[in-house]
């Protein structure tokens, strides 16, 4: 219970800190408009105006993913630059629990992009916000956010070990949008992407959210799989994080040298 509260308070306060950055604010103002526009024109061009809402939701999910990828992938480095990494690592807790609130916060701030994309879609292009299963949508989105936050922990611990993490981050953004079927249905992609898609929590999260939006499926199985894979990522991330912390204490990389 106390641990859960720590995670919740931590995630909220980190989200507060993140959302007040001038860069974040500028991104938050511009990106959703671009995404809404992108979604609308992509699908209008495709002659499927009935699927505008689905497209807007997909575009919103891309926003969540970008936020998690850049925010969580660079979480450790960001804390180091701020000089807060040592202070949080000094907490008498497993390192994974210290970093998890941060990666959850990156997913949480990404949610804003999702909501804003829907709002702009409604405002600028009159996309009707009629969800096939509003309740399932209201559960699937937070579920998907938590899942991505847990996946973020794995990203955070992996990327900190990689020398060229920045380059990797940039190259991963679009492929994962695509492969997870956030914008284009998976069925439209080449067959070899299938196995990759199947193990990514983003695929199942996007699918759950789409099912709730369009009623094309029962939502809950997909959401369940998304959370199960995310939990596995969390466990793996936690093991890696313990290793990373120990290594950092040996190599003196917790502080900026």
């Amino acid at each position: 219970m106390r641990t859960l509260r720590m995670i919740a308070v931590g995630a909220l306060l980190h989200a507060k800190q993140l959302s007040r950055s001038p860069f974040e604010i500028a991104t938050a103002l511009i990106v959703p408009v671009v995404q809404a526009t992108l979604a609308v024109y992509l699908f209008r061009a495709g002659g499927e105006p009935g699927r505008l809402l689905e497209a807007a939701v997909g575009a919103g999910l891309m926003g969540v993913w970008s936020s998690v990828l850049f925010g969580s992938g660079g979480a450790i480095q960001n804390q180091r630059w701020q000089g807060t990494l040592e202070m949080i690592m000094l907490a008498p807790r497993p390192p994974a629990l210290v970093v998890l609130p941060i990666t959850l916060a990156t997913a949480l701030t990404g949610t804003y992009a999702m909501l804003a994309t829907l709002a702009w879609g409604r405002l600028l292009y009159g996309i009707p916000l009629t969800f096939a299963d509003p309740l399932a949508f209201a559960v699937a989105v937070p579920g998907c956010i938590i899942g991505l936050g847990m996946f973020g922990l794995l990203l955070a611990s992996t990327f900190v070990l990689l020398r060229n993490a920045n380059a990797l981050t940039n190259t991963l953004e679009y492929p994962i949008w695509l492969v997870s079927g956030m914008l284009v249905p998976i069925t439209a992609l080449p067959g070899w992407t299938g196995p990759i898609a199947a193990v990514l929590p983003t695929t199942w999260g996007a699918r759950a959210v789409r099912e709730a939006t369009t009623g094309s499926g029962p939502t809950w199985p997909s959401l369940g799989i998304c959370l199960a894979i995310s939990l596995a990522c969390l466990a793996l991330g936690a093991i890696m994080m313990t290793h990373v912390e120990r290594r950092a204490r040996a190599a003196a990389t917790l502080a900026l040298a």
Binding site: R2, R5, M6, V9, G10, L13, K16, Q17, R20, S21, Q82, G83, T84, E86, M87, I88, M89, L90, A91, P92, R93, V98, R246, R249, A250, A251, A252, L254, A255, A257
Partner: protein, 336 residues
């Protein structure tokens, strides 16, 4: 349960780093080379030394942020490498400078976050945070974002954060660095109050006066090893048998200083700039009158007041630290 708050035996730490890009070089720095320390419960202990002496490294070895290359350390009887969590529950860490806080959050949010992280029980948090804001005189500004705080305010918030979980041992790494004199005095008062309530404090500083005012015992560290350890009164003895000559001057260069240093009977010679003038301080053996020689060496330099005086603790510190300067520097470059 050990009766000592801090125990360190043969503590060593070598930093290995790679520099250069086209022709990478491996650099090894022996920052701490065999430190032995015992600090009792409730002591206010000072670790005093010049920049680069190994103070921060020593503190980080003791507070679990760094793993020692060799040696062992215990905090309240718990090993800093094997019983990390037990150690972390009992320690607070505060470092000087203005980083290490969440700038876009308020002081209260910063404290709330760290209270959760450091395991302060929920029902105690509100009271504890209010209490600490009061202690560090930030009450009234607690809702403002930290980015608008002065350096002194940030430093005080750091201290409040370090005390949230009522640590038994508090590590203070140069807390008064970059803080104005008034704020520094208030800070020293806060530290003294803390020690009075039974918290063990390990304070590092490079200001002799600060250590003298606050600490019961002082270890002088230079070049990664402890050069002298004792009460301020005991350390003063390191300047026994010496006398000090202070000369106000305008334009003493390195060459002149070297000449003075080489005069018979002279043990130390240094120049400090104060405003427009320089103050040349010469330590010499008590039996030798060097004044005439020194003034002759300064021929052609405009001089102000000349004073002969007994050595102070500051002079003892200079004597201890300079004894080491003659020895080898800690950096060894090895081609990769």
């Amino acid at each position: 349960m050990s009766e000592h708050a801090i125990e360190a035996v043969g503590l060593r730490r070598t930093y290995r780093s790679r520099t250069g890009w086209l022709r990478p070089q491996r650099r090894e720095v022996e920052a701490v080379r065999g430190v032995d320390l015992t600090v009792d419960n409730g002591e206010l202990f000072g670790l005093l030394g010049p920049n680069g002496a190994g103070k921060t490294t020593t503190i980080k070895l003791l507070n679990t942020l760094l793993i020692p290359t060799a040696g062992e350390a215990r905090i309240c009887g718990f090993d800093v490498v094997r019983q990390t969590r037990e150690v972390r529950r009992r320690i607070g860490y505060v470092f000087g400078g203005d980083r290490g806080l969440y700038d876009r959050l308020s002081a209260r949010d910063n404290l709330r976050y760290f209270a959760e992280l450091y395991g302060v029980p929920g029902r105690e948090q509100k009271r504890r945070i209010a209490e600490l804001l009061d202690l560090v005189r930030l009450t009234g500004r607690e809702s403002d974002r930290v980015e608008g705080y002065s350096r002194g305010m940030r430093q005080r918030l750091h201290i409040a954060r370090g005390l949230l979980h009522r640590p038994r041992v508090l590590f203070l790494d140069e807390p008064s660095i970059g803080v104005d004199p008034v704020a520094a005095r208030e800070l020293r008062q806060t530290v003294a109050d803390l020690a009075a309530t039974g918290t063990t404090v390990l304070l590092t500083t490079h200001y002799m006066a600060e250590a003298d005012e606050l600490c019961g015992r002082i270890a002088v560290i230079a070049n990664g090893t402890i050069q002298a350890l004792g009460t301020p009164a005991e350390l003063r003895h390191h300047a026994d048998g010496r006398q000090v000559l202070e000369v106000e001057a305008y334009g003493v260069g390195d060459a002149k200083l070297a000449v003075i240093h080489a005069l018979p009977g002279v043990r130390e010679a240094s120049v400090v700039v104060t405003g427009a003038a320089q103050v040349l301080t010469v330590q010499s053996d008590a039996g030798v009158d060097v004044q005439a020689d020194v003034l002759r060496a300064l021929d052609g330099v405009r001089l102000g007041r000349v004073t002969a005086r007994q050595p102070t603790l500051e002079d003892a510190y200079v004597a201890i630290v300079n004894r080491v300067d003659a020895q080898a520097r800690p950096v060894e470059a090895v081609a990769a």
